[in-house]
């Protein structure tokens, strides 16, 4: 487990040295990645569907205010209530007030990244409530006292052997690494929680503006119970998660599960429109908490498109950096490429400017994103902002300034190359440098570094020209 007091690089070292984590990540990210390819191949024209999904998301964001008002009006017209929260504290207070005013003691939750973002569990537990996560992965990390390390697979950092041991330790059941047995254990523990909780809290995959419906997808059916068994349902939703109409929802669902797990659809897709009205099913009260928390500020900026994200997690699975270190090393709720954009964008005062550096800009994230968010472009924009606001490494800035001076004066560039050549040629072995001084020493810890050629290409060209002049 990583401690928040460690620096990003320390967390990376820690993660790279964690053999169990490597096993867990290797088992899962590869499987997700190959299943995604197969899942998208089951669409007649996946690229066209992705284009369509992208245009729906961008269109919605371009008129977000209108669609949110329409959404609120329609949630209200079917008997629900919308609460606007500008930040984490407001959102937590809204939920806590709802719980207190309705004498709620026990809360069951289905998966919600927004609730992780605002640390809702801590707020509710501090307020004296019992809170139990019902998504299997979330249940596991709640037992372990950890945070999710992946947007859709929160316990992906654990091997099944580690999970078996955790269940044995915490629940006193016999140790097993059989996923079926472990699921049965969690299921029987959770059944009573669903029935006894007065409040169910869920996330929202999409809110449909034209109907006021909430779409929630799961593979375990836990959201279906969370939103129906307890008396009161509170749905936590980021303001960007709205789609105009049910037709648009259908398009988003075509790409969401395929990109996430390779499934055509998740096992359960709940579409909840208002509280119970005469019929025997559903919650008596339905509340939707719409969270801004820095989102609206991003609209129209260079990272604005990050709001189009549908939280499928495909970019995490495809990312060679995430594959190496998992989610916890990022130190933020949202990890992977999307987290490296989202986290510093939403929390501008936080210590996050290192996250956009955690990318080789390979572009694998952009390639798999179902709505084609240009994540590398945004990482570049955030890096530029770091330099612009003076938060970056001063030596890098000075270094590039000097490099630029040389690179715009060819004679100086040639001199520079010569000087570096003299330096590198003092220490080379068979054309390679075995050790470089700090801060470049990190290169030669695992790699050798080439020396400058005895004749550079431009020197060869000059010789050639002079040679041809002599003829």
């Amino acid at each position: 487990m990583n401690s928040p007091s460690m620096s990003f690089k320390q967390r990376v070292s820690h993660a790279l040295a964690d053999g169990q984590l490597r096993i867990a990540l290797d088992r899962t990210t590869e499987r997700f990645t190959s299943k995604r390819v197969a899942g998208l191949a089951s669409l007649p024209d996946a690229d066209a569907v992705r284009d369509c999904a992208r245009s729906i998301r961008l269109h919605t964001l371009s008129r977000l205010d209108e669609y949110l008002e329409q959404f609120e009006a329609n949630v209200t017209s079917v008997g629900g209530q919308v609460h606007w929260a500008s930040d984490a504290q407001e959102a937590n207070e809204i939920v806590l007030d709802l719980a207190r005013s309705r004498s709620v003691k026990r809360v069951v939750k289905s998966k919600s990244m927004v609730s992780e973002e605002i640390e809702l569990n801590q707020a509710l537990i501090s307020g004296g409530l019992d809170v139990v996560e019902s998504d299997l992965g979330e249940y596991i990390i709640q037992l372990a006292g950890e945070t999710p390390s992946h947007i859709i697979a929160p316990a992906v950092h654990k091997t099944r052997e580690q999970i078996g041991q955790l269940l044995a330790d915490k629940l006193g059941v016999p140790m097993t690494d059989d996923p079926v047995e472990m699921t049965a254990t969690a299921r029987s523990a959770l059944r009573d929680v669903f029935l006894q909780s007065e409040m169910g809290i869920s996330g929202v995959n999409f809110g449909v503006a034209s109907t006021g419906s909430l779409a929630i997808v799961t593979n375990e059916g836990n959201a279906s119970l969370t939103v129906t068994a307890p008396r009161i349902h509170v749905a936590m939703m980021g303001i960007e998660r709205v789609v105009p109409a049910l037709d648009d929802l259908a398009v988003m669902l075509l790409v969401l599960a395929r990109s996430a797990t390779g499934q055509k659809l998740t096992v359960y897709t709940d579409l909840l429109t208002g509280p119970r009205r005469g019929d025997p099913d559903g919650p008596e009260e339905l509340h939707v908490v719409l969270l801004d928390n820095g989102r609206s500020r991003l609209i129209g900026t260079e990272v604005g498109e990050v709001l189009a994200c549908i939280r499928c997690g495909a970019c995490l699975n495809a990312c060679p950096v995430y594959q190496q270190i998992g989610g916890h090393a990022y130190g933020s709720v949202y990890s992977g490429p999307i987290g490296a954009v989202l986290t510093p964008s939403l929390d501008r005062e936080g210590p996050w400017h290192v996250l956009p550096e955690a990318s080789s800009l390979c572009g694998a994230c952009r390639e798999v994103c179902p709505v084609r968010i240009d994540i590398p472009r945004m990482l570049l924009a955030l890096r530029a902002e770091t330099v612009h606001t003076g938060k970056g490494n001063r030596w890098v800035r000075v270094g590039f300034w000097l490099y630029r001076i040389a690179a715009t004066k060819p004679w100086l560039f040639r001199c520079g190359v010569s000087v570096v050549r003299q330096l590198t040629r003092m220490f080379f072995v068979n054309g390679w440098l075995l050790r470089l001084p700090a801060p470049l020493s990190i290169w030669t810890q695992s790699r050798e570094f080439p020396v400058i050629a005895s004749r550079t290409f431009s020197e060869e060209m000059r010789d050639r020209e002079e040679g041809s002049g002599d003829e």
Binding site: C362, G392, Y403, R404, A407, V420, I452, A453, S458
Partner: protein, 246 residues
């Protein structure tokens, strides 16, 4: 193709210039052999990509303007033996100099006639077989910016396939990044090394005796890692592979 009907400017890139001149010379020789009249604009330095990727936009802009001015003098197509520098000129210059009216049309003209080497061979010269010959077992590593930036997937392996006597083998996880990423390799050195390790394992697993890529940065990274491991797998730029005729 004895008559010269094509002409091109060769933009060698800073890494090829200083660290892998053989790739520049091979590019030159290859193009000339194919009947292209090659101009090597003197005074060329760096496209500015390292500064751009590090967020030092003012520096990157200065280098971009310098390079655009240099390459704009001749109307000949520009050939770059590097996927990432090619991507920088073709895609990134437009955004970088978007607000500079004096450069808008110059950048468009330069970007529109810039090709990465394999792109130029296959799309402009329409060459599939350059008549190379060598006894090598070759694994091709598609560098990220060539693959995902310029969208060049099939040209390099097709050209390598045409080499007589060579055998091309597939590289497991071929499209995974080698971990170079410019300054990333130093700023995030440990991560970069872990990514490189995976790539080197794949190279060994492929059974190749030669790794080929189209980017001097990735080649330098992979070769440095292979050297450290004491491996005798050779590392070649595409152009170097295509001029061999043993």
């Amino acid at each position: 193709m004895s008559e010269t009907i094509f002409s091109a400017q060769l933009f060698a890139t800073c890494l090829v210039d200083a660290i892998r001149p053989a790739a520049g010379l091979a590019t030159l020789r290859l193009l000339e052999r194919l009947g292209v009249k090659v101009i090597v604009p003197s005074g060329q330095t760096c496209c500015g990509q390292p500064a751009f990727n590090s967020g030092c936009l003012a520096d990157a802009r200065a280098m971009a303007r310098y390079t655009v001015d240099l390459l704009e003098k001749s109307p000949a197509p520009i050939v770059v033996p590097s996927g990432s520098c090619g991507d920088m000129i073709v895609h990134r210059y437009r955004e970088l100099l978007a607000d500079e009216l004096a450069y808008a049309s110059k950048v468009e003209r330069v970007a529109a006639r810039t090709y990465e080497l394999s792109q130029y061979l296959s799309d402009v010269l329409k060459v599939q077989d350059v008549g190379a010959r060598c006894r090598r077992t070759i694994a091709y590593h598609p560098s990220c910016h060539l693959l995902r930036g310029l969208g060049v997937r099939s040209a390099p392996p097709q050209l390598l396939d045409s080499i007589a006597d060579a055998r091309c083998v597939s590289l497991p996880g071929a499209e995974d990044c080698c971990g170079f990423g410019g300054t990333f390799a130093v700023k995030m050195g440990e991560l970069s090394s872990a990514m490189l390790d995976r790539k080197l394992d794949a190279i060994v697993e492929s059974g190749a005796d030669t790794v080929v890529a189209c980017d001097a940065g990735c080649l330098m990274h992979i070769e440095g890692g292979l050297k450290r491991r004491g491996s005798n797998v050779s590392v070649r730029h595409l152009a170097e592979g295509l001029v061999e005729s043993e």
